[in-house]
């Protein structure tokens, strides 16, 4: 049963890699949003340092949101999605494979890049490691939640803005815990609790949200 899913994973990754500009666009978006913060707030290092965790996390959440917009759209338009739904594999697993492929190619670059951006905003040492770790645990949850929204808004008028309205409220706990972990690290306080809770959220989201994604896809394909 795992083989077709593995193939699907490879197909999705290679599709994204062949269209490199998609990855570049998302990464550039992430960097630009973070650049806007110093420009809007001013270059004082102390001020920037206080907003750094929030800025990086907000930028990551927005980047994840815009990159997920088209997660199912292309496959839906050319009929691949219907074929995948008819395949013997459970649709939830298929959806999970697609989300994993999407996260590996579009979420992971943000995680890898985040320490550099955190450094530019004045974070140091262990804080950078905590920032990357929190994003590593948090962005997969964002991808899974966003995929539910993407599946729901397939072929709906004003899909992008609607998806933001539907999904951003659900991002709140992840954002709080993720930015909270870095904030704790900045005050040399124990940050493990935040990271553990993020991990717990991921553990809950991983089995449950693919079911919701599959449900939403079935409604769209009906």
């Amino acid at each position: 049963m795992m083989r077709p899913l593995w193939t699907l994973l490879q197909r999705d990754i290679s599709l994204i890699v062949t269209r490199r500009q998609d990855v570049l666009t998302v990464v550039a978006f992430f960097v630009i949003v973070i650049t806007l913060f110093p420009l809007a707030i001013g270059p004082e290092p102390e001020k920037l340092r206080t907003i750094a965790p929030g800025a990086v996390w907000v930028a990551a959440a927005l980047a994840s949101l815009i990159s997920l917009d088209r997660l199912f759209a292309d496959d839906w338009r050319d009929g691949t999605l219907e074929q995948l739904a008819l395949a013997p594999q459970p649709l939830a697993l298929t959806a999970l494979a697609k989300v994993i492929a999407h996260w590996l190619s579009l979420g992971l670059p943000l995680v890898i890049l985040s320490p550099a951006l955190g450094y530019s905003l004045g974070l140091q040492g262990i804080e950078l490691a905590v920032l990357a770790a929190s994003l590593l645990l948090g962005t997969p949850i964002l991808s899974l939640l966003g995929a539910v929204g993407a599946a729901m808004t397939l072929g709906v008028r004003g899909g992008g803005a609607l998806m933001a309205l539907l999904i951003l409220p659900l991002y709140v706990p992840v954002l709080i815990l993720g930015a909270g972990a870095v904030n704790e690290a900045m005050f040399a306080a124990p940050y493990q609790a935040h990271l553990s809770l993020l991990g717990a959220l991921l553990a809950v989201a991983l089995p449950l949200l693919p079911l919701a994604i599959a449900g939403a896809l079935r409604i769209t394909l009906d």
Binding site: V148, M152, T153, V156, R157, G158, L162, L165, L166, L168, P169, L170, V172, P173, I176, L177, G180, L201, L208, A212, G215, A216, R218, I219, T220, D222
Partner: protein
């Protein structure tokens, strides 16, 4: 379907529901008004002023019921959504859709009255406090539900997608609540649901309970009325809807419409999905 033998299931037929609501709503309006008048009288003239906040606390008699109604209605919305997704009972979607605007209104009112209460007591209309923030997020969840329902051209499809969203949201509500609670908290402590009894004067509790009853009944009346309109607009060509629109729905027409609905919902077994 075995469930046909359960008596209240007959109200899953829009025609039967319409007749029931038609009978209930005229009683609910005056009941809500009476409770509200009694509650407001108790709240404004009988209940003593608070020893710290003076008369400013009296907005609590509107603030607390609306805040509770907002949360309760979201839960109800998700329950109706689940019923619609699992059993495909159209009436459940109609009810869920009718609940959403009232829920959004209640949430908005609780934010608004909270701001008015905050001004004299905290010295500010808005703080990023845990309960305020999670109520604001609840408002966004209601708005998202309504937007998704309205965005689809196909009502059935839009209803199912929105129901799924309501369920995902309902699972998330406690997580959001606790994360926000943890994030920051300067709201005053719990004062009604304490194990050693409410920390309020008896007349305050009575006024609060009356106002809660008023809001419950009001919400029931307005939701039923909205659901009636929605039920009519979903089957505008049917005989019962035409008769009901001019106010002459006979028992016979109602029963025939109910039989039609039952037939409609019959063939959906456990694998009605897909």
């Amino acid at each position: 379907m075995k469930g046909r033998s359960i008596p209240w299931l007959k109200f899953t037929a829009p025609a039967s529901f319409y007749a029931l609501a038609q009978r209930l709503v005229p009683w609910l309006w005056p009941a809500a008004a009476l409770c509200a008048i009694a509650g407001l009288y108790m709240g404004f003239f009988v209940a003593p002023p608070d020893h710290q906040q003076g008369d400013a606390y009296r907005i609590l008699f509107i603030h607390v019921p609306t805040a509770w109604m907002g949360m309760l209605l979201y839960l109800l919305l998700a329950v109706y959504g689940a019923i619609f997704l699992v059993w495909r009972i159209k009436m459940a979607d109609i009810m869920a859709r009718a609940i959403a605007p009232t829920g959004a209104l209640m949430t908005f009112l609780s934010l608004w009255t909270g701001a008015l209460w905050g001004a004299p007591t905290w010295g500010t209309f808005w703080v990023w406090d845990a309960r305020l923030t999670s109520t604001l997020i609840l408002l966004f969840l209601f708005l998202g539900y309504m937007a998704l329902h309205a965005a689809s051209d196909d009502r059935e499809k839009g209803g199912r997608a929105a129901s799924l969203l309501a369920i995902v949201g309902a699972v998330n509500v406690p997580i959001i609540y606790f994360s926000v609670e943890w994030w920051y908290n300067l709201h005053q402590g719990v004062s009604v649901m304490r194990s050693d009894g409410p920390s309020m004067a008896d007349s305050m509790v009575a006024a609060l309970l009356l106002m809660i009853a008023a809001f419950w009944i009001y919400a029931g009346a307005v939701v039923l009325r909205r659901a009636q309109v929605e039920a009519l607009s979903r089957e505008p060509r049917t005989e019962w809807a035409q008769a009901a629109a001019v106010g002459r729905l006979t028992r016979d027409q109602r029963q025939r419409a109910a039989a039609d609905t039952a037939l409609d919902q019959q063939p959906l077994g456990p694998e009605g999905e897909a």
